[in-house]
């Protein structure tokens, strides 16, 4: 199987504390891969490290994306290679219209038509006529902003979309839409790395990994991993750290 992303022994510390303790992970081409784990397990840190955000430079290990080590690449360069990230709490942009925001990511693919932008909004259940000219600013609700963030991933068509808790701040009824959207990203040609607490999203994945205290404890069938996390995972407070990677 060919892997779009391969992480080997990724180690990262922040403020003198080891946050990633040797992450090993492989994500296949057009694979939906969920990472589940308790708060503080290092899931978002892993997402930021993959995107190359400032302050998340890893000390050891390697990130091989599409056959290339991306260690020295900036955020922009990684994005141009095809990696992108949807933040759990997306940034707000005063004065920037939704139509312009959604067009930004598509520049690398030769631009985008207005109809394609409208279609991306429809996919996240937002009416284009209502949202195209709105600002990506404070006036949007948290749920609206999250949907627009997902729409911006659709218009970008990345090789690897990293979604950091795309379900947070969105009501349960909308979970089905998020799941179908993630599938649509795959059908569009993207691999998707989803960080989530929700079983429904993990269940819709091709594969899942359980992350604990900065390491991947086990990877495999999403239902099995989800079940293990829910019923057999030792509560963090009662565990002797660090856990052993299985």
């Amino acid at each position: 199987m060919s892997y779009i992303l391969s992480l080997k022994n990724l180690i990262l510390s922040r403020d003198g504390k080891k946050i990633l303790r040797g992450v090993n992970l492989e994500i296949g081409d057009r694979e939906i891969h969920s990472i589940i784990g308790a708060n503080g397990a290092g899931k978002s840190t892993l997402a930021y490290t993959l995107m190359g955000l400032q302050g998340y430079e890893y000390e050891e290990g390697s990130i091989i994306f599409d056959g290339e080590d991306v260690a020295v690449l900036s955020i922009t360069e990684r994005a141009k290679k095809g990696i992108t990230l949807a933040w759990q709490e997306p940034a707000r942009f005063e004065g920037l219209k939704v139509r312009d925001y959604l067009a930004i990511g598509a520049k690398g693919n030769g631009g985008i038509t207005e109809e394609e932008i409208k279609e991306a909004l429809r996919k996240v259940d937002l009416k284009p006529e209502k949202y195209l000219d709105r600002e990506v600013g404070e006036a949007l609700s948290g749920g609206e902003r999250k949907r627009i963030e997902l729409a911006s991933i659709i218009t970008m068509k990345p090789k690897l979309a990293i979604l950091d808790e795309p379900d947070s701040g969105i009501d349960v009824v909308s979970l089905k839409e998020i799941v179908s959207l993630i599938r649509a990203l795959k059908e569009n040609g993207s691999s998707v790395l989803v960080i989530t607490h929700r079983e429904e999203i993990a269940a819709a994945s091709d594969k899942a990994s359980l992350m604990c205290e900065g390491a991947i404890l086990r990877s495999g069938d999403p239902l099995e991993i989800s079940e293990f996390f829910k019923n057999r995972c030792i509560p963090c407070d009662n565990r002797v750290s660090p856990p052993q990677v299985i």
């Binding site: 955020i75 922009t76 994005a79 005063e94 920037l96 930004i104 990511g105 520049k107 600002e135 970008m156």
Partner: protein
Amino acid sequence: MTPITLNALSRETEDITAAYTAAGGDSAVLHNHGLASLVVSGNKVLSANGTEGIVIEKKETEHGVDIKLIIKKGYKIPLPVHLCFGLVHKDGLQEIKMDFVAEEDSAVELIAHCTFPNAEKVIHKMEAEMLIGKNASLKYTETHFHGPYGGIQVLPKAHVTIEEGGRYYTNFSLISGRVGYLEFDYSVDAGKDSICEMVTKVYGKADDIIKIFERVSLNGENARSVIKSRLAITDNAESIFRGITEGHAPRARGHVDCMEVLQGNAKAEAVPIVRVDNPLAKVTHEAAIGCVDKKEVETLMARGLEEDDAIDIIVKGMLA
């Protein structure tokens, strides 16, 4: 005094029209007799066109023009009135005195472009007295273009009185080209049930100096106001913002909102001041100065933009 020939006037009209376009104006509106307009170059009134319900009186002075603009009682002017003030020469002094009255129950939108495309040593002073009558409405948009040299001092000063039920919306922007030295000084007295919204947007570069002084006095019951300022400064530019709102009457509501973004060696100071002497009035404020938000920049970079382009989009959005 040098006699002005028709050819010279024609040339000056062409020059100021080109400068008006450079400032973002649509020159066709200045030649449309169905629209009210006024074009002033230096101390010359090049054209003045009133329409029904509008009275324009003008008097050329040694260094500028005195203007009286009246919107007659009850007239709702359907299309914007276009104003152009400018100086196309490298140096000079332009003094504009404006006496504006929107009489009771009238409504008008004024769109002004102030253009100094070649300014190397220019002073532009504007002193205005504006009266928004009972239940009248004025929407005033002023866009400046100062060219690339920065050799200009712009000193607009206005006192605005809003009578009962009046509405005053103003938007001042100077985001293309250099600022030079700007000292913007507006004060507003707001009467019962009136609304005042003042927005300033300025982008300072090189050694530009920006001073924004705005004061709203909420004198009447239920008067409401917002002072909103968006400043972006880079290189060695400096800015000072002072926004004062005073609540003197029951149920008066005011808000002062200043956001400044710094890059390079720029320096900024923001002082929102709120004064309330009526226990039923409420005035709030917020001010933020800082570099461009890191998460915003990284978000746009994660969509493939270079860092400088990301910052440019964020700053332009803030000033849009």
